[in-house]
């Protein structure tokens, strides 16, 4: 089994709740899509070509100081459970991990991980440079990969078109190849039924939203990923500023909605949130969807300062470590669904008890 302790910061630095508005914004991700000239894109390339891409990228990585202390994982050589584990930890995409039966893992699929940044190789595009940070940190997340992009581009020739910019397998990414997304928790807007308007508004201004795991994933636990939809025809800085402005506005709306909830439905909301906390503290079997839903309530309670002895970091940790592959990893064996539910409830009880210094 994959030894996660060898990853820089365990691959969970982005959960530390250190950033701005960390109780509402869990994390910020910025990625650049790049392809290497001279090869077909990863989906079209032959096995040999993808392996050649990987070895060329590996060579380039070896010569970049910023990447010196990183780890390269050959995703194509990992068993399915480990690939799922990396995906649950938000370190590789579903596509790179080859989790869909109709799209198995590709030869040459790999990920290079350093503290806060990663490079996926042979994903939909040859290269996906990513920065993942805690809280709302759009500008600094971009800065972390901008230099990396420049250095890498000096060592491997990127596919670049005078008119269309950086070329990508999917035309929705062409131009800057830049996608910035913010994972944000909006229970106030959902409870006050304002969320529909907010999300519709996003789409009108060139932004889009997705679920916790990105493209194609469902919205669970009131967690939304808001990102730029267009990548061409605007400068990188413009795309980032725009997203920052809109997300700040969404945060304000969420804060207003929370005030309204407390004012108009104070004890009803309070009761609902404490019940969720009670369930997490004492339940003996929990599905992942239940945990997500209760965690959403508890997170809101912490944001409203109704619960004061719990840290946002603990809540972030629970979000990741109560997923199926993480539980199996912690238990050291595969778990059936009902075993996983028992293990999940045990884990959640233990973490909440230790964080609050009380008994289980």
């Amino acid at each position: 089994m994959l030894d996660l302790s060898m990853l820089p910061d365990g691959g969970v630095g982005w959960l530390d709740a250190s950033g701005e508005s960390a109780d509402i914004v869990i994390s910020t991700r910025v990625r650049l899509a790049r392809n290497i000239e001279g090869y077909a894109f990863a989906g079209r390339a032959r096995d040999g070509e993808r392996l050649r891409v990987l070895s060329q990228v590996q060579q380039a990585i070896d010569g970049i100081r910023q990447l010196k202390h990183g780890v390269l994982l050959r995703v194509d050589e990992l068993p399915p459970a480990d690939r799922l584990l990396l995906h649950e930890r938000h370190l590789v995409s579903r596509e790179l991990a080859g989790l869909d039966p109709q799209r198995p893992v590709r030869s040459g699929a790999a990920v290079h991980l350093t503290r806060g940044t990663s490079i996926m190789v042979n994903e939909e595009d040859h290269l996906r440079l990513q920065s993942l940070q805690s809280g709302l940190h759009i500008a600094s997340a971009f800065a972390a990969i901008e230099t990396l992009d420049t250095e890498l581009g000096e060592k491997v020739p990127y596919a670049f078109h005078n008119e269309f910019g950086f070329l990508t397998a999917c035309p929705t990414n062409v131009g800057t190849g830049l996608r910035a997304s913010v994972l944000i928790h909006l229970p106030g807007l959902v409870l006050t039924k304002e969320i529909g308007k907010v999300l519709a508004g996003l789409q009108q201004v060139g932004l889009t939203y997705r679920g916790l795991y990105g493209e194609g994933s469902e919205v669970v636990g009131n967690f939304f990923q808001i990102s730029n939809q267009t990548t061409l025809g605007r400068r990188e800085g413009e795309l980032l500023d725009y997203l920052t402005r809109v997300v700040s506005h969404v945060i304000e709306r969420e804060e207003e909605a929370r005030k309204v909830l407390l004012r108009d439905a104070g004890y009803i909301i309070e009761d609902k949130l404490w019940r969720a906390y009670g369930t997490l503290r004492y339940a003996r079997s929990l599905t992942f969807d239940e945990v997500m839903s209760y965690l959403s309530s508890v997170r809101l309670a912490v944001g409203l300062k109704l619960i004061s002895d719990l840290s946002v970091y603990t809540l972030n940790k629970l979000l990741i470590f109560s997923q199926p592959a993480h539980l199996a990893y912690a238990e050291g064996r595969e778990l059936t669904a009902s075993e996983a539910n028992l293990a999940r409830a045990r884990y959640v009880r233990a973490i909440l008890a230790s964080d609050t210094g009380s008994t289980r």
Binding site: K155, H161, T231
Partner: protein, 161 residues
């Protein structure tokens, strides 16, 4: 979990309604939620590219035959229409007639104004490769009229002999 209202579809939304002094929790499918004016926590929107490709299908056929083929990776325009993904960087030129229009519709613009890029001088030829792979690449380079690249590959092939 099934929807509390229609009892048929899977519930994807948990709706908490506050009524007077009581709270009611409903688990709703996408459709029943929409009927209550909550399109909100519905599954993420599907990537728009597929819908889009369909909608411009006819217009494109007028300008770009399905059989149009990229000389570098052998992808056809039909491949692109069915997968939504291009085969290689050269497809953008091979299908250029349709690309400008397509990009304008997706992004509202078809001209990159972001960061410019110059590839490294030595990077014209990807590293290494077996003789067979190099021969493959030589053919592609000639087909796509990249004669300088072709000459480089030919030299590399000679040095392998």
């Amino acid at each position: 979990m099934v929807c509390d209202v229609c009892k048929e579809a899977d519930a994807v939304i948990q709706l908490t309604e506050v009524e007077g002094t009581g709270v009611r929790q409903l688990h709703l499918c996408e459709r029943c939620a929409a009927e209550r004016g909550v399109e909100t926590a519905a599954p993420s929107p599907k990537p728009q590219i597929a819908d889009f490709l369909q909608s411009v299908h006819q217009q494109m056929q007028a300008t770009q035959g399905d059989a149009a083929r990229c000389a570098f990776c052998s992808s056809t325009f039909r491949d692109f229409r069915s997968t939504g993904r291009l085969g290689c960087a050269h497809c953008y030129d091979a299908f250029e007639k349709s690309m400008g229009d397509l990009l304008r519709r997706i992004h509202g613009n078809a001209r990159h104004i972001g960061r410019r890029y110059e590839p490294p001088a030595s990077g014209a030829l990807p590293d290494g490769g077996t003789a067979n792979e190099l021969r493959d690449r030589l053919r592609r380079a000639i087909d796509s009229e990249q004669f300088e690249l072709a000459a480089n590959i030919r030299d590399r092939l000679r040095s392998l002999d």
